[in-house]
């Protein structure tokens, strides 16, 4: 904004300078013309009174050149050697003897007699032009000075005025849509202050609404939880004693429903941020147990992969990853689960030979998102939960994939040893 101000000021200054220069020029010209006219009048009077040329010449001093020129164009006074001053009736700017001059003329009339030629005056205006040039220079310098000062001042002042706005803009950019908080106080009474207050109120309203939504979702979830447990449990019990494939299909679906809804509820209740009940768990054991629920999934483990964590939550992680992989690969056969024990870390790799995805999609796969992706892979929810749980355990998760090359999720967790020390607290 400071730039805009300066540019408009510079343009204004330029316009003013041009006008000033033009006005000056016109005024100068008018003065010079008036001066010339007066001289011409004087010459006429003197001639009428019978004055002689030389007399007049003596009186013409300085910048004024006087010539008596015959009608034929010959210079009588001062002398025939001098080139004639250009003939102009009205005072006009022109060049004479390589100098800028203002010339004018009047009829040369012998006392009481006929007109025999013209009396011509040339006024040297070099000085006048120089004056104008000086004015232009002065205007230019002044203009630059004003522009420089204005630019500095505007950057300082305007910048200071608007810095709160810039800060507000930055805060707005940094806003976390999950937990929107605008905590910048701008204690001012002007427009900037009002913008800040309005923004503050708007963000607060959004945050409260989100809290309400989350609570509403939790309340709904509460209603669903018990019946869901019954449905899944009863179907499981039935499926155990009856081979009807429809029953098994229903059981599978109910089981998926159970796990998906649990993820949803966990996220909705904001439970992932709660401190987990920590105990010594074997990631290898969890992987084997969960993978056994999905036919065809291969499990390879190296060591027990002991970590300090929550059995239920880590099982959720493994299950979500296997579910995604099975969905992508089309069946458990295309899925491999590997658990490795290293001194400082344990790793869990889940690979699928499905269609894979573009790297940009892979990068966004962990974003919290309650909607399913257009390609129906359901990454939005499961992976968000995985990421939350893994990070709550002090670990990290990465998704590597290329279109047509399947996908691989790598979870790294601190090993049990790495989580423990022998120091006092």
């Amino acid at each position: 904004m400071g730039i805009l101000l300066t540019v408009s000021l510079v343009v204004a200054l330029l316009a003013v300078a041009i006008m000033a220069d033009a006005l000056f020029e016109r005024q100068q010209l008018a003065e010079l013309q008036a001066l010339l006219d007066r001289e011409l009048d004087r010459v006429e009077r003197l001639l009428a009174e019978g004055g002689v040329g030389e007399q007049l010449l003596d009186e013409a001093v300085g910048k004024l050149s006087l010539q008596f020129v015959t009608a034929a164009g010959a210079v009588v006074i001062p002398g025939p050697d001098e080139p004639p001053i250009p003939l102009q009736v009205e005072p006009t700017m022109t060049t004479y003897a390589e100098r800028p001059v203002l010339v004018g003329s009047t009829p040369w009339r012998l006392a009481g007699g006929p007109v025999i030629g013209t009396v011509r005056l040339a006024y040297d205006v070099e000085d006048a032009l120089q004056t104008r040039a000086n004015l232009r220079s002065a205007l230019l310098v002044a203009g630059l000075a004003i522009a420089a000062i204005t630019l500095t001042v505007s950057l300082l002042l305007v910048g200071r005025e608007l810095r709160p706005l810039a800060r507000l803009a930055q805060r707005a950019d940094e806003l976390d849509p999950i937990e929107p908080v605008m905590d910048l106080e701008v204690a001012r009474d002007d427009e900037v202050g009002r913008v800040a207050s309005a923004l503050h109120r708007a963000v607060e309203a959004i945050r409260l609404r989100k809290v309400e939504e989350r609570e509403a979702l939790a309340a709904v979830a509460h209603e669903l939880a018990a019946p869901l447990t019954v449905v899944a449990g009863q179907l499981e019990a039935l499926a155990q004693r009856d081979d009807d494939p429809r029953l098994h299909a229903a059981h599978e679906a109910a089981r998926e429903l159970l796990h998906t809804s649990r993820d949803l509820l966990t996220l909705a209740r904001g439970e992932l941020n709660l401190p987990v009940d920590l105990e010594v768990v074997s990631l290898a054991g969890i992987a084997q147990r969960v993978a056994a629920e999905y036919q065809g999934v291969a499990v390879q483990t190296v060591g027990a992969a002991q970590v300090l964590g929550s059995e239920i939550r880590l099982a959720q992680v493994v299950r979500n990853l296997i579910r995604n992989a099975v969905q992508a690969a089309g069946s458990g056969e295309g899925v491999v689960v590997r658990v490795d024990t290293l001194p400082a870390n344990v790793t869990l790799d889940v690979l699928d030979d499905g269609p894979g995805m573009e790297p940009e999609v892979a990068r966004r796969a962990f974003e919290r998102n309650f909607t399913t992706r257009p390609d129906g892979r359901g990454h939005g929810l499961g992976l968000a939960v995985v990421k939350s749980i893994v990070e709550a355990h002090g670990g990290a998760v990465e998704l590597r994939s290329e279109a047509g090359e399947g996908a691989r999720v790598v979870v790294t967790l601190p090993s049990l040893d790495a989580s423990l020390s022998n120091d006092d607290a």
């Binding site: 939790a218 979830a221 509460h222 669903l224 939880a225 018990a226 019946p227 869901l228 447990t229 019954v230 899944a232 449990g233 009863q234 499981e236 019990a237 089981r255 159970l258 809804s261 649990r262 509820l265 966990t266 209740r269 439970e271 709660l274 009940d277 920590l278 105990e279 010594v280 300090l308 239920i312 049990l416 989580s419 423990l420 020390s421 022998n422 120091d423 006092d424 607290a425």
Partner: protein, 238 residues
């Protein structure tokens, strides 16, 4: 009140054939649990509210009470607290809470010192069975706890390392007991404070001092790195 179901007279060993009391007012869920738990070899009684639960507890011995929070005549937590305070049930009856919300009540955590066991709905029956198994295993109040050559006998409040009898101050014994009883679980400082003093000690490092002394004592007895620290969280015996 439902009549007795399941097989009475089962041995009190963890994991198999335990005597369970399920306090749940949702009939469909209660029946499902009863069937599944019986199939798993446990004996099951059902109670739809706290009142019936207390009556059954007065009449029978149970190994584990599965307790829903939202009951018609109160919060299941009340009963859990009663069981924890009563010296007859404190070490012999384990509790597993069923909640629809997992913002774990710190009181629950305090009662069972880190073994704040709960299952959030929805859960699968397998998860429930696994959790029951764990709770029963941890519950054993009077069993001798062992770690390498260390032996702790809670019934006699005595401690031995190999052949040597070790005299531990009461509070240090309590700390060691808790950590060994819930071996493999993180026990927080809050858990220890509540277990030792019944409440939180504001701004105190008393527990740290006990742990420090305990470690030194154990080291003198040739046992090093028994009690491990989880930074900023608490302690654990692996």
């Amino acid at each position: 009140m439902r009549p007795l179901s399941g097989t009475p007279g089962q041995p009190r060993s963890p994991g198999a054939g335990a005597r369970l009391l399920v306090v749940e007012d949702d009939t469909r869920l209660a029946l499902l649990l009863e069937e599944q738990l019986r199939l798993a070899g446990h004996g099951v009684h059902l109670a739809p509210d706290l009142g019936s639960a207390r009556e059954l507890l007065a009449e029978h011995d149970f190994d584990l009470v599965i307790l829903d929070r939202n009951l018609p005549d109160g919060d299941g937590l009340e009963l859990a607290e009663e069981l924890a305070r009563d010296e007859h049930t404190r070490d012999s009856v384990a509790v597993l809470m069923l909640t629809a919300r997992a913002d774990v009540d710190s009181r629950v955590a305090g009662l069972y010192a880190g073994a704040s066991d709960y299952l959030t709905k929805p859960f699968s029956v397998q998860e429930l069975l696994a959790r029951i198994h764990v709770r029963l295993r941890e519950r054993g109040g009077a069993e001798i706890l062992r770690y390498e050559k260390l032996e702790l006998d809670p019934a006699n409040s005595s401690c031995r390392v190999g052949d040597q009898v070790v005299l531990l101050p009461e509070r240090e014994f309590a700390v060691l007991h808790l950590l060994l009883k819930y071996r493999g679980r993180l026990i927080t400082q809050d858990d220890l404070e509540r277990s030792l003093y019944g409440g939180d000690l504001p701004e105190s490092n008393t527990v740290e001092v006990f742990v420090h002394n305990l470690r030194r004592r154990l080291k003198e007895l040739g046992l090093e790195n028994v009690i491990r620290t989880v930074r900023n969280r608490g302690y654990i015996i692996v």
